[in-house]
Symmetry: C2
């Protein structure tokens, strides 16, 4: 592989000039610029990213930590992150923690601040102490899709009003005339879906409706988890006419459970989810859901991370301010075929 | 961040000894080893991956080029690659080409040989010339899941006998008594699904059955593509009792099309796919499919790539040999609920 100085020699300029041309910096005359580009072409020179990153004390990638790349939401989000990152020439390293904080720590220790100049964290079940250590080592961290805009995590984040999403889902079912509504919550009671469930309860209370504990099931955030939880709900209360699930995968599992119990969706049972992953529109019936602004959240997260990389808090005396919280636009109900009038 | 020499100073040894301890190389006494590890701990030293990579002329990641991370097969494959790579401490950079050879070239030029020491290519629609240039720059390339074991691509690859997969799918339908069988092919006639279709035709011919051109549709390799193609087939030949799709997504689209036309799967129409992605068992009815050994292919690909990284062809005079082809074990039929007797 040829070097910067070989390019400089061939073009009859200094290495600094070659560098300026390649990075559109400094003032270089058009003829010189052409001569440099011809030399680059002739020698098949490629700037050595790792070397450049070292020279600048920066690395040219950002890391995206996700809890499971096999959950279809994460690839959709990763794609949006990658598109946003690529506009500034950044490459995205996707790291799977598989819900394991130890794997997450290993990734953070190996990658953050060396290979990657910043870290996006998407529900990766990471220890906040590990994230603060990563920040302290000079690699900014941004949490993507924080669930509680009003209760910031103490780290920079992009927040989505998931409580509102839960409210919108419940209001839709209530407006359709449903009163006996079950809930499948895709996390533990204190887990990341708690605010969605709270929104559901808000709307139910406001309509004067009760949610007896027996009509709520906490389950893994998967199709299978939703399937088992919905089967349990439907087998224990035959009068349920609707089920709210805190995420699309358990909502799809709920549709499967209804089918296996011989209950037609939406005639016998209405089902609503949250997120609007691609599978939501591909299912039969297509899933009514509250869409979360995934692409917007990805773009905000990348943009916030870039800001933190370019203007580290310490250098501007801003590190005593509270970490930034960017809130996305509101989630929106999308009515499809899985809900109907009672 | 502390440096190797600070660790060495604190432990009272040379930098080379610290390096040996951290990499389990050379002979170091147990007491010295302990002293080095304590110094590493006390100083919170992390080896600088990019620096180490530079020093060795190697980089510590491998790149996985895929055509669309949003297609559910690729995340499943990426997960398997990542697990295989992590056993040797490699991190995986997932690069989406979005079916665009230019994006693919940009990734190869930016990443291969600098950030990544090798490249796995998974159906990323890349220009073979670009891949050979990548090899020439010193970053080995392995094609994952090459479709024709008997017709090697001139690059190292892991091959799967997809023609056999097509044969197995067709034989299953024929054994169930189906004779009017349509085909949805998820690529162009000369595209990557051609061998799967050839296998289907093999089995049909062997059974003395015809495949009239009107019963074959070429479509995008997506649920929507399969949906449109199957609708066309079913609307133009009401007597079809089975459809073979060359991939699971178009097979799932076929099930949706049948549902929308009021045809029950499997009572009125049997549907079979190829691959066995997670969605295959989650669909209603669950999809009968020919499973491809995804995890095995990922492990073979990572292992072949590591071999090529560790023993570059040029250094051992082996570069005149034909590139290695590893063939996985045979695809296997998995019978689920989407097929039944005619």
């Amino acid at each position: 592989m040829s070097t910067l100085s070989e390019v400089a020699r061939r073009a009859g300029v200094t290495s600094a000039t070659v560098s300026n041309v390649l990075r559109n910096r400094g003032r270089v005359g058009e003829q010189t610029r052409q001569r440099v580009l011809e030399a680059v072409e002739a020698l098949n020179y490629r700037p050595h990213l790792a070397a450049r990153a070292l020279a600048e004390g920066r690395a040219p990638t950002i890391a995206l930590m996700v809890s499971s790349i096999a959950n279809p939401f994460y690839p959709e989000f990763a794609l949006a992150v990658e598109r946003a990152a690529r506009t500034s020439g950044h490459f995205v390293i996707i790291c799977n923690t598989n819900e394991d904080p130890h794997a997450g720590r290993a990734y953070l220790e190996q990658i953050a601040g060396t290979l990657s100049e910043g870290v996006l964290v998407m529900n990766a079940n990471l220890d906040f102490d590990d994230l603060r250590k990563t920040e302290a080592r000079g690699a900014p961290v941004v949490l993507c899709m924080w669930e509680r805009p009003d209760d910031p995590p103490g780290l920079p984040c992009v927040a989505v009003d998931f409580r509102l999403a839960g409210q919108l889902a419940a209001k839709h079912l209530i407006e359709l005339g449903h009163t006996r509504i079950g809930a499948v919550v895709g996390s533990k009671p204190s887990g990341i879906h708690a605010s969605r469930y709270e929104g559901f309860v808000d709307a139910m209370r406001e309509a004067g409706l009760k949610v007896p504990a027996k009509n709520v099931r906490y389950a893994p955030d998967t199709t299978e988890g939703g399937y088992a939880a919905a089967r349990h709900l439907l087998e224990h209360d035959a009068k349920l006419t609707a089920i709210f699930a805190t995420n699309d995968l358990p909502a799809l599992g709920t549709i499967h459970a209804a089918a296996d119990l011989g209950r037609d969706v939406p005639r016998d049972l209405s089902v609503v989810g949250i997120t609007d992953i691609q599978l939501a529109q591909q299912s039969r019936p297509p899933l009514t859901t509250v869409a979360v602004p995934t692409v917007e959240a990805a773009e905000l997260a990348v943009s916030l991370l870039r800001e933190l990389i370019e203007r580290p808090a310490g250098k501007h005396g801003a590190h005593q301010k509270a970490p930034r919280v960017c809130v996305t636009s509101a989630p929106q109900l999308i009515v499809r075929g899985s809900t109907s009038k009672r």
